[in-house]
């Protein structure tokens, strides 16, 4: 029984690792946005709203991982 609980915790921890690639992607997007503002400062507002939209959509993947971790912890306790 204790072993099963530990395995569930390890699985939840692994599920949260989906956030790693999301972090890389969001950082890349933010870097590109900074570049775009540097090239074209008057389009700053448009770039900002585009960046927030893109980041939030990219975040979906991390949220799925988190959801699976929560399911593992709270359903298979």
């Amino acid at each position: 029984m204790e072993l099963a609980k530990g395995l569930v915790a390890i699985g939840a921890g692994l599920a949260v690792f989906t956030g790693m690639m999301t972090g890389i992607g969001q950082g890349y997007a933010a870097g590109k946005a900074v570049e775009a503002v540097g090239r074209n400062p008057e389009a700053e507002n448009k770039i900002r709203s585009m960046l927030i939209l893109g980041c939030a959509i990219a975040e979906t993947c991390a949220i799925y991982g988190m959801l699976i971790a929560f399911l593992l912890i709270f359903v298979f306790k």
Partner: protein
């Protein structure tokens, strides 16, 4: 879970009441705003509720016109506006002690289902019944599997994105308050009162409830308008 009075096997989820409160608030505000709008002088400078409504309607009609074109925007913008209002109020209702309706998967699935039906009906109206089914076997018949999942995918991703964001926010806040309660329990005299949570909680609430709620609402209405706009026939 609340058991309904004397009716066997009918259970009401607690979110039903918060949906009622949110919808009642929207309804009351609309009646009030309608009265203010009809009484106001159209030539005078708008102020108060009238100004607020004007800004909101302008925002929604600009967003829909950008993504769908002027003709379709007139048809869809009332729905988009009410959807945004409902979702904003649902997402931030956690701040006022209500159970967030969007933290229930049935609610987000229903909202995503409405978008899905709108998109599919737009496809049907713009290309006709024969093309509607023909799109599934393009470019050749084995692609029906991919096209089928491609059609269903937005339904799943839109509903799970909203649900996951709101649910994870509330679960993280719960974990956070448990943690700060444990930490402040170590302090001898003040330990009964979780003052660390009180001091640091508002910033996390501002992020998880206000910011995430508003961003998710914006994404949801943005994606709805983009999906519908993609399927509309090209207007000259």
């Amino acid at each position: 879970m609340i058991y309904f009075l004397s009716v066997p096997k009918v259970t009401l989820q607690v979110e039903v009441f918060s949906i009622m409160i949110v919808v009642g608030l929207i309804f009351g505000f609309m009646v009030y705003a309608n009265r203010q709008l009809t009484q106001s002088d159209p030539l005078a400078k708008p102020k108060g509720v009238v100004l607020l409504c004007t800004i909101y309607v302008n925002f929604i009609s600009k967003l829909t016109t950008d993504n769908m074109g002027a003709k379709a925007a007139k048809t869809y913008s009332p729905y988009i506006g009410v959807l945004a209002l409902f979702m904003v109020l649902s997402n931030i209702s956690g701040l006022f002690g209500l159970a967030q309706p969007t933290a229930n998967y049935s609610v987000t699935l229903t909202l995503a289902l409405i978008t899905f039906v709108l998109v599919q009906s737009t496809v049907y109206r713009s290309v006709g019944l024969k093309q509607f089914f023909h799109r599934f076997i393009e470019p050749f018949p084995p692609f029906i599997i991919m096209n089928f999942f491609g059609t269903i995918a937005p339904l799943v991703s839109m509903s799970l994105r909203l649900f996951g964001n709101i649910t994870s926010g509330s679960v993280i806040m719960m974990l956070f308050y448990t943690f700060t309660g444990y930490i402040s329990g170590m302090i001898p005299v003040l330990g009964k009162f979780d003052f660390i949570g009180v001091l640091t909680g508002p910033f996390l609430h501002a992020y998880f409830d206000l910011f995430a709620g508003l961003i998710q609402t914006y994404i949801f209405i943005m994606l709805t308008t983009i999906f519908i706009g993609n399927e509309l026939p090209q207007e000259e």
